[in-house]
Symmetry: C2
């Protein structure tokens, strides 16, 4: 069955979407059948791949009804890469979910058949920048949490909060098998002292979880979405493209090589 | 009475907290009595001012009970600047609020006496990166919405969503007096084509609302929080400090000079 990863961090703008889309496409280019689930009402992962946000075509309906998500999968137009897109209505879902029973495991039950029966190896869930019901559903459906950490002080402050959620979900017995998959540094700027200090902190407290590959700040990564292209299509020789290729290899080594 | 501003944008990491704290301190330095309300469970505004997040001391209690917030105001240790700090429990507040009646106007009723009776001229509410109940409470309590817009494509995509909320709140008759106060460009990098393109778009669709002052990307702004200092204390001659001083003057001219 596919391994499911939640790309989450309540701190905003730390590279969750950029990492989900770049990692997803890099794995697909390596021949790994990958599904992206866009759980963010902003639907940024959907638009980064050049796809439309269309009301009624995202995770919203199946999430509320608990029905099978397989029917919502669409092609990303790249080999080995599929997506369940998002829609703006997803913001309303949080409020509606809160009044349902078992509101934390809705996504997990809808994803089950996708995990087992379609030959997928990896499922990546892009989360919104909060620890509300959408992100919690993603964490309850995931085998591993991947934290993207911007190399800045304010992002470092929130690291304990997002990694602390794993313990809470274990204790509440909602997802005892969730583990911290790793922490990847994003927007790393080797010229600033701050990036280096954050890197040191991460390696002191999460040494065995920190990925060796750090993603540098690279304007090509922020330009690619305006063309609906991934960084590999838009600027294949850029530092951003090379870093995400290296990250995908390290990721595959850590989770897929056995 | 004080004019209330919600600093909001569902896109994460676009400079909401940096703008709330920098604008708040700049106004205070100009002699304008200013209150910051930290509505974000991350409590970044609280830590940017060098203050501790202490459970039981933030907006959480009064928000749920509808009681008066005046007792939660603490000194920021800077003249003319006060803050109602945040706490982690605020994340639980969203869930608890959703089951209460009139859950959208809790903050507005708790802020009323602060707005009228304490000689404050400006109240700035820092919002979390979603359009959930915490941000909606802030928007229902505000006279104006201030949108901080990172000069990037993905941030531009969400602009219609946050400005569209004003119309929704008017139609639902929850806050008919809310208006768009303005859009301020943050992390503006004059060397990149992308920044200029976003600037052009904003001036085409929101010409009379866009602030003339753009805040440049400046490492001093991201370093200051690690010392619990504002940019005016940490690096008074930096481009970030000068830009936020100019922004505060433009802000005061637009809202306070009559
Ligand atoms: N390494 C990088 N170098 C330069 N720009 C980057 C990099 N990674 C991401 N960006 C840009 O920074 C912004 C924030 O990134 P992104 O949207 O991926 O973060 P996020 O955590 O998904 O945000 P949100 O919290 O809103 O979901 C985007 O405009 C993106 O294009
Ligand atoms: N003009 C700037 N130049 C450089 N860095 C900046 C600038 N403005 C903000 N930053 C840094 O960028 C990061 C994001 O800014 P900030 O936390 O203020 O955004 P936010 O919108 O409040 O984020 P969130 O959505 O998580 O609440 C922070 O690390 C901050 O220090
Ligand atoms: Mg995102
Ligand atoms: Mg903030």
């Amino acid at each position: 069955p596919a391994i499911t990863f939640a790309i989450a961090n309540q701190k905003g703008g730390v590279g969750k979407t950029t990492t989900t889309v770049s990692l997803g496409h890099a794995l697909a280019l390596m021949g790994v059948p990958t599904l992206i689930v866009d759980m963010d009402p902003q639907a940024n992962a959907t638009s980064c791949l050049g796809l439309e946000k269309r009301s009624g075509f995202g995770v919203y309906e199946p999430l509320l009804n608990g029905t099978n998500l397989a029917g919502r999968v669409i092609s990303s137009r790249r080999k080995n890469l599929w997506i369940i897109p998002s829609e703006l209505d997803l913001a309303a879902a949080e409020l509606e979910l809160s009044s349902q029973s078992e509101y934390l495991i809705k996504l997990r039950s809808s994803l089950l058949s996708l995990k087992e029966n379609y030959g997928l190896q990896v499922i990546l869930i892009d989360c919104p920048p909060t620890l509300g019901l959408l992100s919690m559903n993603a964490l309850c459906a995931a085998d591993f949490l991947i934290v993207t950490l911007q190399s800045e002080y304010l992002a470092m402050e929130g690291l304990g909060q997002i990694t602390g959620v794993i313990e809470k979900l274990k204790q509440a017995d909602v997802n005892p098998s969730l583990n911290l998959g790793g922490i990847v540094m994003t927007m790393y700027d080797s010229r600033t002292r701050l990036s280096y200090e954050v890197w040191q902190e991460v390696n002191r407290y999460y040494a065995d979880k920190a990925f060796r590959t750090a993603i540098p700040r690279n304007a090509r990564l922020s330009e690619a979405p305006s063309f609906g292209q991934t960084v590999f299509e838009y600027a294949p020789d850029s530092s951003g493209s090379l870093a995400y290729r290296a990250f995908a290899r390290e990721f595959a080594e850590r989770f897929l090589s056995h």
